[in-house]
């Protein structure tokens, strides 16, 4: 079983800074949305939260022993469903509106 890279205080602080700024972007970016787009927006941002996939890939590929790899692989499946399904469903909803215009 391999060892894990631990984070330094500097990295943690950089992460927190990035977190805070991204939260502000998230707050500011959504102001007015027509009700029609509530559901697609929800679905699209849900697909983005499938970004855990990146973490899942790192876990699954890191070769940290059988259990960790299994957990990681299961995570890859789940996260891929979330991401792929999410963007496709969103696209389907939006296409429906578009072809009417």
């Amino acid at each position: 079983m391999g060892l894990l890279a631990v984070i330094t205080a500097g990295e943690l602080l950089a992460g927190i800074t990035v977190f805070v700024l991204a939260v502000f972007v998230g707050f500011e970016i959504i102001t007015k949305i027509p009700p029609t787009l509530h559901t697609p927006l929800m679905s699209g941002s849900n697909a983005i939260s499938g970004i855990t996939l990146v973490g899942a890939l790192l876990s699954a590929g890191a070769d940290h022993g059988f259990l960790a790899t299994t957990l990681g692989t299961a995570a890859v499946i789940m996260a891929t469903v979330n991401a792929v399904g999410g963007f496709l469903v969103t696209n389907r909803m939006l296409e429906m509106f578009r072809k009417k215009k």
Binding site: I7, V23, G44, A56
Partner: protein, 479 residues
């Protein structure tokens, strides 16, 4: 950091930017499709560069996982019926939450091993390596939030899918006390886990308790509030992803996760406002203000006039302008195609037909738009509430199909009603109102509707689709 790492980091930044552009695009109709594509592209970039990470040694599991996941995701996304979208989003969201639980689990498992080795090598040191605590806290948060998201989303899915067993909340005593106890246990396990970095089992226990908590939290909430709950759980799953980002010290996870977390909270608020509900009330399953001030009997007794397809067809014969008001019942009856057919028939009779779309008609925001778009009813015919309200006075027949609360005049008159203050469609101003529904039973808000007893209102009882088909048949006969 070698050059490859630098390129990977820059690519992550690009994909974070694409996610921002995705969310921004999705807020405007003109740019929504492009926004979604940006998001998918961002995900693609992030995944591809991750594969080049030096820490990835085996590709077998990864390719297997990607293939299986993509297959399932694509299948569900393509096969699902349009009207089942909300529960599909809930399901996907649950998967995302579970993925965070698993990733955090895998990392904390390795971390506990690392810490054990460190202690084994040098039994005298009392503290774990620098950064361990931060990683532990982040991992535990990811597990906690992810698990609540997962089980909560599954319950939301079950409710929206109208699975029998979940239709009514499970009833058990002292709900709030149990939630409180669970929260306390979670807190205790959290502290325990942080103070024993060498053990993995507190994380497992924590996750299990969090799964239960997700169930007990969402269980009492009514099915109609599920869109708000899903929006909130979506925000949670973003936060869970951000937390795993802290464990892995990965900026794209942190950025994308916190973007979703923050924008999800805003979206939740916007949706609450559109439904005239407060978030606390949704979360604690309380309808605003309790009792209706009037009973069904007082409202309806002896004043309800029932009608038939033939009679309504005659009304249409002399009409010039008809407004159709779709509601939740239209979705239940899956009558969207029947409505399109009716519209075509009416238009062939030179009648002007428009649709009045209330912002919270149905059970999810934009529900009616999605439904009518599926039946290919032209976008221009759908009018928003503010636009169409002034025109009801010049409307000959208003046909209400499976809508109830959104046309309930009590919202204007009774300040104690649960829908008090909600703007409604002023259908009662039109010459004649025909309401298609199965019975006099109430809608989501659970209150009687004086409209049904109004002088100019006729009730056309029956399932939405069947009633429409009757009506079309009657119209065709008379032509």
């Amino acid at each position: 950091m070698d050059t490859k790492d630098i390129i990977i980091s820059l690519a992550y930044l690009v994909s974070a930017i694409l996610f921002i552009l995705c969310l921004k695009g999705l807020t405007k109709p003109r740019t929504a499709v492009r926004g979604n594509l940006f998001g998918a592209l961002g995900m693609f970039v992030a995944v591809v560069v991750t594969l080049f990470n030096n820490n990835i040694l085996g590709y077998g599991e990864i390719i297997f996982g990607l293939a299986v996941g993509a297959g399932i995701g694509a299948f569900l996304a393509v096969k699902i019926e349009m009207t089942a979208m909300p529960q599909m989003v809930a399901l996907f969201n649950g998967f995302g939450g579970l993925a965070s639980v698993l990733v955090a689990g895998a990392e904390l498992l390795v971390l506990s091993g690392t810490v054990q080795e460190a202690f084994a090598k040098n039994p005298k040191i009392a503290t774990a390596p620098e950064g361990t605590t931060a990683m532990l806290i982040a991992g535990l948060l990811a597990g906690l939030i992810g698990a609540v998201t997962f089980s909560g989303s599954l319950i939301a899915f079950a409710k929206l899918q109208e699975i029998k067993a979940f239709k009514k909340p499970f009833d058990y005593p002292m709900k709030q006390a149990i939630n409180g106890a669970l929260a306390l246990i979670v807190f205790g396990l959290f502290v325990l886990a942080v103070s024993s970095p060498g053990s993995f089992w507190p994380y497992m226990l924590l996750t299990i308790v969090a799964l239960v908590l997700g169930v007990t939290l969402v269980n009492p909430i009514g099915g109609a509030d599920m869109p708000v709950v899903i929006a909130l759980l979506n925000s949670y799953s973003g936060l869970a992803a951000a937390a795993t980002g802290f464990v892995l010290n990965n900026s794209v996870l942190i950025i994308a996760g916190s973007l979703v977390g923050a924008s999800g909270i805003i979206l939740t608020q916007i949706m609450c406002k559109a439904m005239n509900r407060s978030l606390t009330h949704v979360l604690f399953g309380v309808m605003e203000a309790g009792e209706s001030s009037m009973t069904d009997d007082e409202v309806y007794a002896g004043k309800v006039k029932s009608t038939s397809g033939d009679e309504v067809a005659m009304l249409f014969d002399s009409a010039q302008r008809v407004v159709i008001v779709p509601g939740y019942g239209l979705a239940v009856a899956q009558a969207q195609h029947a409505v399109r057919d009716l519209t075509n028939v009416l238009e062939s009779m030179d009648i002007e037909v428009e649709f009045a779309i209330h912002p919270v008609a149905g059970r999810m925001p934009g529900h009616m738009n999605v439904l009518l778009a599926e039946a290919e009813i032209p976008y221009e015919q759908l009018k928003e509430m503010d636009v169409i309200n002034p025109s009801f006075a010049q409307t000959d027949v208003t046909l209400v199909i499976g809508a109830n609360d959104v046309v309930n005049p009590v919202a204007r008159t009774d300040p104690n009603s649960p829908i008090a203050g909600m703007p409604i469609l002023d259908v009662d101003k039109s010459r004649t109102v025909v309401v298609i529904k199965r019975s006099l039973s109430p809608g989501f808000a659970g209150i009687p509707n004086p409209l049904f007893a109004a002088d100019n209102c006729l009730m056309f009882f029956g399932d939405g689709k069947k009633a429409l088909l009757d009506l079309i048949a009657a119209l065709k006969e008379s032509m």
